[in-house]
Amino acid sequence: MIENFTTPLFLDLLGINILLGVSWYIPASCGQFSFGHCGLIGIAAYLSGAMTTLLGLPFPLAILAGMGISCLTGILFSAIGLKSKDIYAAIMTLALAQIAVVVFKAVPATGGIMGFLVVPKVTPLIVWIGVIFCLVFTWRLENSRVGRTFEAIKTSNIVSATLGLNTTYFKIVAFGIGGAMAGLAGVFYAHCISWIEPHTFSIWLTVMSFTFALVGGWETMWGAATGAVLLTFLLEAFRFASNWRPLIYGILIMVVLAFRPSGLVTRGNVRTVERFFLGMMNRSFVRGRKG
């Protein structure tokens, strides 16, 4: 059974899932919820797939293009929604996802409903380089002024506004970064499973993304990553019950959110781990403090 966990496909998907979770987490860290994540992923997948397969352009270019278009689309749709209220930004992303699927089905060049085969297959190494890059980026983001601003806005939109923060700008930035990361996930996804069709980018991808983040813990990036890793391993271990996968997700969401609303890994947990590592490094400094 261990072999299942070491196939290139599994490693690819593990990395992609981490990207999905973290890319959903970033707008969430600002209090924004992307309902249409699948659309952002799908756009990048289709664009990069078309670029490499139909146009023969180099893969790195396709990666940039995919990230770029998802980033821009995320910015555009959230900006329109944020003109009114936060929840409208979320709804606009939902609209994006719906419209995107219809467009995918309608464009004949990419196979319409049938989908098409994407040519260069990506190796787990490339995927994980991307994942590590994004994790480091997000970690730096969390600990920067921008990250703290996100947290302030998430805690209280109104208070942040009265403190002079341009909340709308930061929310759009959050959607942009989340979008770019979702785009990267989409590019990898297309080049990993090779056959993409409109049906692949249904709302289920969004559900996966927010399940990773909510169940794992949406207070920190580590939560989203943990959730992705845990759930990917869990679902692979229960491969025989794949028909019931959505049900397992559903029950997990309901149970975890009922009893641990911030997710499994809370900020407190992360602080404890951080302090442990700090303690190991600065033993004499820490001794004697209550922490």
């Binding site: 309608a106 969401i253 309901m254």
Partner: protein
């Protein structure tokens, strides 16, 4: 063209019921009840069970389907909403309702298989003619039943004390508690009503199209949310008006442009409306403040 508009109105009446199912919960709790789509599906599936498999007469089917709606509504309130509301973020109850929806769809699809479940009623193929056009009888039944249900709901909200209590809890749960209103009970009643509307609209849809299947709720449910937003969050009448407009738009799109785009046209309309009228057709600013 007139014929298509009439068709659109009929579709719109059904959309109105679906939109109201969402609008009720949105109005009292400020959240989108994502299970509603699967309650809709549940109604159609119950219709299949009672009509096709158990051969019950329609007189018995309707109360049975309503009872199903009551149970689903209570289950939603208990499992998804009761503990999540305290968290403060509007997304947590939405996520838990999506979770319950997943449980429902997976259960049904594993149990009943991937093929559509047929629902046939004796008058299924009867046509009624108006002038030179003829419409299926089922469409008429759906239309008038939907209108009836919507009127009852309007009466309820405006004229009964539970309706008044519902509006009170929706506006200010704390003050309502202090006035002696049992907010939990009122919320449960709202979910029950929205559950009944959901299953009934599912039954009507199943009768109209002749089949039920596990994922029928997804697309329709999302359209319901779209319509509520077009109409303005917090406005019941807005939801109904948006539903009729949406029904007509969809039918016209599929006839004069292409069926492929019919599903997207509602989202396009929402996109445009939000650009120029961010609160929706009949949304009021004060309503939104609470939904934040």
């Amino acid at each position: 063209m007139i014929i298509q508009i009439v068709n659109g109105l009929m579709l719109g009446s059904l959309y109105g019921l679906i939109a109201l199912g969402y609008a009720l919960v949105l109005g009292i709790l400020g959240i989108f009840n994502m299970v509603q789509a699967d309650v809709f599906m549940g109604g159609a599936v119950l219709g299949w069970i009672f009509i096709t498999k158990l051969h019950l007469p329609l007189i018995m089917v309707i109360p049975a389907v309503m009872a199903g709606g009551v149970l689903l509504g209570l289950a939603t309130e208990f499992f998804c909403v009761r503990r999540s509301l305290a968290v403060g973020s509007y997304f947590v109850p939405i996520a838990t309702t999506i979770g319950l929806g997943l449980v429902l769809t997976t259960t049904v699809s594993n149990w009943a298989g991937a093929n559509p479940l047929p629902i046939s009623v004796p008058f299924q193929f009867t046509q009624v003619s108006l002038g030179d056009a003829s419409f299926p009888l089922t469409n008429f039944i759906v239309f008038f039943t939907s209108l009836a249900i919507m009127s009852i709901l309007a009466f309820f909200l405006k004229r009964t004390s539970l309706g008044l209590a519902t509006r009170a809890v929706g506006e200010n749960p704390e003050v309502s508690q202090l006035l002696g209103i049992n907010t939990t009970r009122v919320i449960q009643m709202t979910f029950i009503i929205s559950g009944v509307i959901g299953t009934l609209s599912g039954l009507l849809f199943g009768v109209m199209t002749g089949a039920a299947h596990p994922y029928m709720g997804e697309v329709v449910g999302l359209k319901g949310i779209c319509l509520v937003i077009i109409g303005g969050m917090g406005s019941m009448s807005g939801a109904v008006i948006a539903a009729f407009i949406g029904g007509i738009a969809e039918v016209l799109t599929s006839v004069y442009w292409s069926v492929k785009y019919a599903d997207a046209v509602l989202w396009l309309i929402m996109f445009i409306i939000l650009l120029f009228r961010p609160l929706g057709l009949m949304g009021k600013v004060e309503e939104l403040q609470r939904l934040q």
